[in-house]
Symmetry: C2
Subunit: 263 residues, 2 copies
Amino acid sequence: MIGIFDSGVGGLTVVKEIFKYLSDYQITYFGDTARLPYGTKGANFVIRYSKKITRWLLKKGVKIIVVACNTSSAWASDSLKKEFKNIPIFEMISPAVKEAIKTTRNKKIGIIGTPGTIKSGAYKKKLIKLDSDLKFFSTACPLFVPLVEEGWIDEKVTKEIIKKYLLPLKEKNIDTLILGCTHYPLLKEAIAEVIGKKVKIINPAESLAKKLKEFLENRPEVKNKIKKGSKHKFFFSDEPYNLGKISHLCFNKRIKPIIKDPF
Amino acid sequence: MIGIFDSGVGGLTVVKEIFKYLSDYQITYFGDTARLPYGTKGANFVIRYSKKITRWLLKKGVKIIVVACNTSSAWASDSLKKEFKNIPIFEMISPAVKEAIKTTRNKKIGIIGTPGTIKSGAYKKKLIKLDSDLKFFSTACPLFVPLVEEGWIDEKVTKEIIKKYLLPLKEKNIDTLILGCTHYPLLKEAIAEVIGKKVKIINPAESLAKKLKEFLENRPEVKNKIKKGSKHKFFFSDEPYNLGKISHLCFNKRIKPIIKDPF
């Protein structure tokens, strides 16, 4: 199976993109709802639990790990790659960064995410490493996650909050915007309306799904180990809040959660 | 010491009221920021961690427990009272409920809180038990906590969100409104503006502080065991997000957090 983990339900937007690009592989998902959100937690905490979850997913028989949580990707993916050397580990940041660099024309890139992701500077560091001429402007948008979880996708108040966070970025004349949190793609239309047509929006979940597809095409020995089929399993460490709303927004149907806190 | 715990920083509004009514007692505070918010967690999880925290506070030498978190009060306080029989345990709900009943004239009471508190029906159950003629109307307001933590107390968008949640309650002609979450008193002025002057707002933190004062006046044997002084300690199980903003809103100064996850 492909093992995917996130701090909660946001990673389902990553599953959505993986289904789009790799429809026939079996997924085991773990959402750490007992400890969410990771975005306002400290780095050590996020590393500790990312390792625990990875170990648990490997015991369940997954052959690939997708770190669907941006905060975990930012803080824990290097530690995970060091500790679990024999397993391919994908994270949210690198594929999005590469796509943003290919996309931008004026070299001005905006990044939005949770306070944790923004504070970590992870997107910024990877962007600079690949192209030191880039300019970027980042903003933490802590209200976006609860807005999505409330299902307020099209509300007037949502657009006003988006304006409050994004107009300062627009003024910087960015031409590319990275949605650095798994919940944010569900606000993509409203964000596009505020930020304007000239700005190309990068959904890291889509960049990752494309990269994963490419990887499997080039590595048949890994590809052949992954179970096919549609017996996907969705574990959550505590009852997820508004799972119905989010899974409808992602898949147009309800998913059946398995509630289990292994830690 | 008086031991106070909450899922995060919201309980500081309870400390604020306790300082107002009982200024000379030493406080040991524990904010479970590693696992916040409790409001969207399941009952078993909240009970399990409330017990762990209570045990830990007792080891620190506290002589009274204040469950400052409404979700813990709703789901865990009965279990705590059963397990820790020799220690006075105060929770947020009973004092507020009694004050609401004394306050209402038309017997129509509104309750707002996190999804967890509202789903538990704890306020409703205690109100009905004391006066079965009461009518109540409750609404979960999950956006309020992140708004407060963002420090957006006076913003236009905050008032619009308050309207979205509270106008349906206003239409029910309530004359009393219980702020069933520790963060909400920081929005009290904006809430009062939306809900109108005719509605009396109950801050459970204040009701609790008054009750605690009364209890200590009647129980000198407990009172004499509690250390006096201003060496308050504020423990958090993970770095608290925007502690500076919240502690300024509560105490007009910064507090020094001790970061430690004992679990």
